[in-house]
């Protein structure tokens, strides 16, 4: 036990004095949450302003006086698009949409023909797509007005063409839209737990060998368990500190950033922060252990960074996998680190019922796998192939 404390104390002292560790922990913990929220906030504000923009771009507007009149009655200002708008859209440098009026528009309308109106936009740019949807809605309104007028002229009740009317009824969880953006928390917090542990995990394993200090260290009468546990606890500390910092910064940023759209979709308070820490805490223990095991086989810092980058990538895509593969609440995810934590937090945030087993299963999986990797490390740490591997 005394040896374990000695190793832990040394590794923490060494880690605290390592500027790289501090920078990563500070930047990840304090900046990632607020920065993510600021970016999301700006993105939402931009979309909102684009949807509410008064200006609409219409090419060949002079050919459609009735359409222009309709748009102006909706409070819109009709503007011509830039001359090279198609080139700009193709180059991905245009954030708006353009309504294209064909020649003979008014004459075709007069003859009762179906008139095709194109809306040029860039599907890769959210703002352009939003503007296109707005234009589509406006043109639809213009068409409805024309239809209404034609029916009235023929003394036909407009109600005859209304056969069905869809109505959206929200039946989501009790927390409704207040949690729409909370999926960002596990997404960022999972990665921050890995990033926080990374530098120190490499330093206590591959770094120890690279600087030539592993061989003399192993010549001390120190048990493999004391050595491995002492180092692992130091790595866990860095991971947990980063996680706590990240979650706290999310909670603080959620209160500080005064944006109407953000506040409505990101209600992250003390209770949510507590749940996040409780669910992700065991993950920190696991990921610290796995990073150390991966770095143990590396011959130096560079090779260790390459090896551990796979783990960082896997953890960062886990929440996205769940989203894109529509895994929803498939219970097997509870057995997979990162996926399990992400699923439990998603359920907690949207107010779905969560059982004790739901919380305990991923935690126990992490603790079990941590134990297995720690045992593996105690068996490996003194091996000749590990101690004397050449860089």
């Amino acid at each position: 036990m005394r040896q374990l404390v000695t190793v832990l104390h040394k590794e923490l002292l060494d880690g605290v004095r390592d500027r790289r560790v501090w920078l990563v922990v500070l930047v990840t913990a304090l900046v990632s949450g607020p920065l993510t929220l600021l970016l999301v906030s700006k993105f939402l504000a931009d979309l909102k302003s684009k949807a509410e923009a008064r200006e609409v771009l219409v090419e060949n507007a002079q050919a459609a006086p009735r359409l222009v009149n309709f748009l102006e009655r909706q409070g819109r200002v009709v503007e011509p698009p830039p001359a090279d708008v198609r080139a700009l859209i193709e180059a991905g440098r245009f954030d708006d949409a353009v309504l294209v009026v064909p020649e003979g528009f008014e004459a075709d309308l007069f003859r009762g023909r179906l008139v095709e109106l194109s809306i040029l936009h860039d599907t890769n740019r959210a703002k352009s797509t939003t503007a296109a949807v707005t234009l589509e809605r406006l043109v639809g309104g213009f068409g409805q007005e024309l239809t209404l007028q034609r029916l009235l002229v023929r003394s036909i009740d407009p109600a005859l063409i209304r056969t069905v009317r869809p109505t959206l009824v929200a039946l989501g969880s009790s927390r409704g839209g207040a949690t729409r953006l909370l999926f960002l928390v596990p997404l960022v917090a999972l990665v921050s737990a890995v990033i926080g542990a990374l530098a120190i995990a490499i330093d206590v394993t591959a770094g120890e060998r690279e600087r030539g200090s592993l061989e003399p260290l192993l010549m001390n009468p120190v048990s493999p368990w004391s050595l491995v546990l002492g180092k692992w606890l130091a790595v866990c500390t860095a991971s947990l500190v980063t996680l706590v910092g990240t979650v706290t910064s999310f909670a603080v940023a959620g209160q500080v950033i005064r944006d109407e759209g953000l506040s409505a979709a990101f209600q992250f308070g003390v209770a949510e922060a507590g749940y996040t820490l409780a669910v992700l805490g065991p993950f920190c223990l696991f990921v610290s252990s796995v990073l150390m095991l991966a770095a143990l086989f590396a011959r130096g810092h560079k090779e260790a960074q390459a090896t551990t980058s796979y783990i960082v990538s896997l953890v960062s895509i886990a929440p996205s996998l769940s989203m894109f593969l529509s895994l929803q609440d498939a219970s097997w995810q509870l057995l997979v680190p990162a996926l399990g934590q992400n699923m439990v937090l998603a359920r907690v945030f949207r107010g779905s019922p969560v059982t004790v087993l739901d919380v305990l299963t991923p935690a126990l999986v992490c603790v079990g796998l941590t134990f297995v990797t720690l045992v593996a490390k105690t068996k490996l740490v003194g091996r000749e192939s590990i101690v004397f591997a050449k860089g």
Partner: protein, 252 residues
């Protein structure tokens, strides 16, 4: 007392087509008594470092036996390490820790603490003449400065047995002299010292016993004078070249 009897060690290097079996040590035997400095002499690749690693319990021998004091290196590795101080080929220090913190870490791992540990660190720093470096972080230390801290780290628990792998490599004259004074002091204190070296004058000046190793085998064990007499050479260097290289320099 360190006893080594018929140690052998084979390494497998590379994979697939690059796989090669290297017999690094194929029967090294010697004994190093207490109160004496025993030199392990041999050309590069002779198996000196592997032999020292087997004695220090880091590498497990394929065959043969080695004991440090009353303890066997294979069956009692913890007991061997407890009574052994090793200055190995790898002398890496923790660059973000001071000299004192580096030495204190090893002392604490060996159960020392508090004033006795700090007193021992001060004593070693004085003997090795690096008191002025004790509180400085070891980042940027010269080779000699690093070696002094590494040696103090290896000796912090006052071991009865000391292994040194080419300790004077890269040292300036002043540092080498300080190291030699330290080794003589340890010898006078009755310690058992084994060190490998290429510097013949150093071996001649310090060592009572010489073990010549080449191609992984012991070729001679005895005093410097016995080695000279056996080869009929007037100097240790000539005697060593005659024995290790069959009289042909550069062709062991």
């Amino acid at each position: 007392m360190i006893r080594v009897e018929g140690l052998t060690k084979t390494f497998v290097t590379g994979r697939g087509a690059q796989r090669a079996v290297v017999q690094a040590v194929r029967g090294v035997s010697f004994s190093a008594p207490d109160g004496a400095i025993t030199a392990l002499l041999g050309p590069n690749g002779a198996g000196k470092t592997t032999t020292l690693r087997m004695v220090s319990t880091l590498v497990k021998p394929d065959a043969g036996r080695a004991t440090v004091g009353a303890h066997d290196v294979v069956s009692q590795p913890e007991a061997v390490r407890a009574d052994l101080g090793v200055l190995s080929d790898a002398r890496g220090l923790y660059t973000r820790l001071s000299g004192r913190e580096n030495i204190r870490y090893y002392g604490a791992l060996r159960g020392l603490s508090g004033k006795p540990l700090d007193g021992r660190i001060d004593e070693l720093a004085q003997l090795l003449e690096f008191e002025h470096l004790l509180e400085r972080r070891t980042e940027g230390f010269s080779t000699g400065e690093k070696l002094k801290v590494a040696l103090a780290r290896a000796l912090v628990h006052d071991p009865q047995h000391v292994l040194l792998d080419e300790p004077t490599n890269g040292l300036d004259v002043v540092s080498a002299r300080a190291l030699r004074r330290m080794l003589l002091r340890l010898k006078q204190a009755g310690k058992c010292l084994v060190f490998s070296s290429h510097v013949m004058q150093e071996v001649e000046a310090l060592c009572e016993r010489v073990v010549v190793v080449a191609k992984g085998q012991t070729l001679h064990e005895g005093t410097v004078d016995e080695l000279k007499a056996r080869t009929g050479k007037g100097s240790l260097e000539d005697a060593f070249v005659h024995l290790a290289f069959d009289g042909k320099e550069g062709a062991p």
